[in-house]
């Protein structure tokens, strides 16, 4: 089911406040006043400030964006406002946070409890883990309402349902009884917004509300936030590192770096005339769609022997059931996918979450069993996965989606990087250590960090460690699965540059997996767009981005936020339906799409 509404349409929430009554005086009155805020952590070496001397005001109905690189203290600021700084090490050491007449830094816990949710609500960075997995959506919404208003349970649930309807979640009655794991990330984020909506707070803090989401879903969530603000006059603090989101949403922007405010300005001014060099760097690092379009000619299809060739690859995950544990259903993760990756090229896979991108990657390194044929170099992979020969392992390396999860937290990075050499019996211990140090230097890290542990690095640094590790064996193909998605723009730019540099130097080919269209646009030679396990469009970067033919490709490109506040977005179509489902009973499956060449190797599904 799809419910369609235009962005400018009057689909107001049932509890909509009179937006017409917003008078200028009220708009000018600050609801939140932060002055000289300093948040410090107690360490062995004494107090260390995480946020220093931060001051800003927030007015009614205004959206204030806080941007800045990872670790610059954005989340700490918001947690300080909520009074939820992680005890006992981190606390507010100076400054004040005034909400109306109350100083939140001095308020006792009991009073804070009434402020939280009721007057200030927060949407957290991680939609996947921010809802309690063992309580139903309905319960979690209703209890939030009942915590601030003495309503009977049934009434609270009615209000919760209304809030779910207001965020345009499909089948809201059913959602009330569902658990978080039964909902997709985007749906969960809507639930979080519904919670804020139901509580009608004066201030809403949204900490990276869309980072983990697909572009299309991100679009939806941003629209919702805007509706909410318009209808209720809520003041929003929007924390993000995505300059595209900032440009679209914010009235004013604060740029932070290492706990300090670097620049504060209205959004247009910031984008057009940034005063600080740091801000300029930040803006320069933002990948822009089409920025490279003119620069590069359509890449000639390399005639060289491909490093990897997939023909008609199918991956299904059986779902077992019944008394004998027979397979009753299959998850059709990858369906009839064929493509080649040529030596030295960057081949990108794009598509929404769950469309099967990672599964393809895993099939190529032999982590999942597949049907069809995968050829790496001149070696055909055995269909049941796992026992690929060591020699093959040297040819293909993978950089996993989540760098923290992909590194054994109990090993030193030097050992981690040297491990592939050790496994393949290359060199002596000293050689390997020297090689590891060299690789660290190559990826832009200092060799004296060789004896540190993964958790002692930032996310971007960890991703570089993973890349160094993948490089150790000098493979022909590196699979980079969402390798830059979790990084902030500046780091992202650095990692992308590194990848390109290495490619030029070593002639390695990349299978680059991402849902971020702008990034893909800036790095790839060829692109394949996946939808529900199948490729729906494939061609050179210029073909796919310059002349998208498939409606799905068009929608993906359309949804990308443009980092320019002047940009006017066309009213887009809102989708609220369930995620398309790749699960089918045994024997049946999705309809197979057929690709047609529309010219110069540009394949499109019909």
């Amino acid at each position: 089911m799809q419910e369609v509404a235009t962005r400018s349409g009057a689909a107001a929430a049932p509890d909509a406040a009179p937006d017409a009554a917003l008078d200028a005086a009220a708009e000018a009155a600050p609801v939140l006043l932060v002055a000289g805020l300093t948040v410090s952590v107690r360490t062995e070496a004494g107090l260390k400030p995480l946020v220093e001397n931060l001051s800003f005001t927030l007015r009614r109905g205004e959206t204030l964006a806080i941007a800045g690189e990872s670790g610059s203290g954005k989340s700490m600021t918001s947690l300080a406002i909520m009074g939820l700084l992680p005890p006992p090490a981190v606390r507010v050491t100076a400054g004040s946070i005034r909400l109306g007449q109350t100083d939140l830094t001095a308020a006792p816990e009991a009073q804070m409890r009434h402020v939280r949710g009721d007057r200030i609500a927060m949407i957290f960075q991680e939609p996947m883990t921010s809802l309690n997995p063992v309580l139903t959506i309905g319960t979690q919404l209703a209890e939030a309402i009942r915590a601030h208003e003495p309503l009977p349970r049934a009434e609270a649930r009615r209000r919760a349902l209304a809030a779910l309807t207001a965020v345009r979640l499909s089948q809201p009655e059913r959602r009330m009884h569902q658990y978080p794991h039964e909902l997709s990330g985007g749906m969960r984020q809507r639930v979080m917004i519904a919670m804020a909506l139901a509580l009608r707070p004066e201030v809403l803090i949204a900490d990276e509300p869309t980072t983990a989401l697909d572009v299309t879903v991100q679009r939806e969530v941003l629209d919702l936030l805007r509706d909410l603000q318009r209808d209720l006059g809520t003041a929003i603090i929007l924390i993000t590192h995505d300059m595209g989101v900032v440009a679209e949403m914010a009235d004013r922007v604060i740029v932070m770096k290492s706990g300090r405010m670097v620049e504060q300005a209205p959004v247009r001014q910031l984008f057009h005339a940034p005063t600080e060099p740091y801000t300029r760097d930040l803006l320069a690092a933002v990948p822009r769609m089409g920025a490279r379009a003119a620069a590069a000619a359509p890449a000639p299809l390399p005639a060289a022997e491909p490093v990897a060739r997939l023909s008609d690859v199918v991956v299904r995950f059986p779902v077992r059931g019944g008394l004998l544990g027979r397979t009753t259903l299959n998850v059709h993760a990858v369906e009839h996918v064929s493509f080649d990756i040529a030596r030295g090229e960057t081949f990108a896979l794009v598509g929404e979450s769950g469309c099967g991108k990672s599964t393809i990657a895993r099939a190529i390194v032999g982590l999942v069993p597949h049907q069809g044929q995968i050829t790496v170099g001149d070696h055909v992979l055995s269909a049941h996965g796992r026992d690929a020969p060591k020699a093959l392992r040297r040819k293909v390396q993978m950089v996993f989606q989540d760098p923290m999860a992909a590194l054994d937290p109990r090993m030193r990075v030097g050992d981690l990087i040297a491990e592939p050499l050790l496994i393949h019996g290359i060199g002596t211990a000293a050689d390997r250590r020297a090689e590891a140090a060299d690789l660290l230097r190559r990826v832009g890290l200092s060799p004296d960090q060789i004896d540190r542990y993964p958790h002692e690095f930032s996310g971007g640094q960890r991703q570089r460690i993973c890349i160094a590790r993948a490089l150790a064996l000098k493979p022909d193909l590196i699979i980079a699965d969402e390798s830059v998605s979790a990084l902030d723009v500046s780091v992202q730019a650095r990692v992308l540059a590194l990848l390109q540099e290495l490619q030029q130097e070593m002639g390695v080919a990349y299978l680059f997996i991402s849902h971020d269209m702008a990034v893909v646009d800036s790095i790839s030679d060829r692109v394949a767009v996946m939808y529900l396990g199948q490729i729906v469009e494939m061609g050179s970067r210029a073909q796919v981005f310059g002349d998208p033919r498939h409606p799905y490709t068009q929608r993906l490109i359309e949804a990308v936020p443009v980092p320019d506040p002047a940009h006017q977005r066309r009213p887009s179509v809102r989708m609220t339906g369930d995620l398309p489902n790749p699960v089918h009973p045994v024997g049946s499956g999705p309809e197979r799409v057929i690709l047609r060449d529309v010219g110069a190797g540009h394949l499109v599904a019909i």
Partner: protein, 306 residues
């Protein structure tokens, strides 16, 4: 769900079969002759042989086991050698008492262990936490007999709050159940502390606090259901350990349960009773595990039964 239970029951039956076989073999090679005990001190060699034949104990091991299984299939656990009574009757007459005590004991264990664990997690790193963890060690290391007798002495004899042992009313149940609870609480409190500590760091706890919920609601409504999962799996494991404690507690409190029956039977090599009790306790463990597995998805909807 039904299919799952059915499959698990079939598995359980196989486990029970295995248990019965191992027990049978072990008892067979045990250096003690039950016939001697039956025949008495004045018996002649012929009498002994006669009795051996009557009981079928002269047959090869596998024949004996086959007979046992055949009878078992009809719900017949055989007759006690020394008491000359149906083992089924002996066990059934004592089972309710043991089940009662077990249920109450596990509840007491959970209440004590969980509250200690939660309290320790909330006070993590502080003195109270350390004292509670010390207490958990004391309960794990304390000799069961001494603890039972000490509690009986203080609360029944000296203070007169409870009857001095015996069975029947709820008042009789309190003290033995608390004793079992104290003895078993250490394991639970340690597990609860670590799982609670972990859960309290989770994002959704921060969300719950951000909603302005009360501390009690956050701890008991949000953290507890998540933290309790590993503990539930522990209950399944624990029932086996629990059986050991029950023997001692039953004997000190004069609780007419299976434990005492088993103890006597072991001392006297009354094989049919030992077999019967072993099977019943294995059944209890298997069912306990099954229940634990069935309860888990009720608490955590992400867990699917497979």
């Amino acid at each position: 769900m039904m299919v799952y239970v059915l499959r698990r029951l079939i598995q359980s039956a196989l486990i029970l079969l295995g248990v019965s076989f191992i027990t049978f073999v072990l008892l067979y090679v045990l250096p003690a002759d039950p016939v001697r005990q039956i025949a008495g001190r004045a018996a002649t060699a012929e009498t002994v042989e006669n009795i051996r034949q009557q009981l079928g104990l002269d047959q090869p091991l596998l024949v004996q086991y086959g007979r046992y299984l055949a009878a078992l299939a009809q719900g017949d656990l055989g007759r006690s050698y020394l008491q000359k009574t149906e083992v089924t009757e002996l066990i059934l007459s004592r089972l309710p008492a043991t089940l009662q005590l077990m249920a109450a004991g596990i509840v007491a264990e959970l209440i004590l262990g969980l509250s200690m664990g939660i309290a320790a997690a909330l006070m993590r790193g502080r003195l109270g936490d350390q004292l509670l963890m010390m207490a958990s060690f004391v309960t794990v290391s304390a000799p069961q007999f001494v603890v039972s007798l000490l509690l009986l002495y203080v609360f029944a004899v000296k203070l007169g709050w409870f009857p001095i042992g015996g069975y029947g009313t709820a008042a009789h149940l309190v003290l033995p159940a608390i004793t079992l609870g104290i003895l078993g609480s250490g394991w639970y409190s340690r597990m609860m502390r670590s799982s609670m500590t972990e859960v309290l760091r989770a994002d959704y706890i921060r969300t719950a606090r951000a909603k302005g919920l009360s501390r009690a609601r956050v701890v008991f409504g949000h953290a507890l259901p998540n933290a309790i999962l590993p503990v539930i799996a522990m209950i399944g494991i624990d029932i086996g350990i629990f059986m050991g404690g029950i023997v001692v507690v039953e004997s000190v409190f004069g609780w007419p349960g299976i434990g005492q029956l088993a103890w006597q039977a072991i001392q006297r090599v009354d094989i049919p009773i030992i077999m019967g009790v072993t099977l019943v306790s294995a059944l209890a463990i298997v069912i306990g595990n099954l229940l634990a597995d069935l309860v888990a998805p009720l608490i955590d909807p992400r867990i699917r039964l497979r």
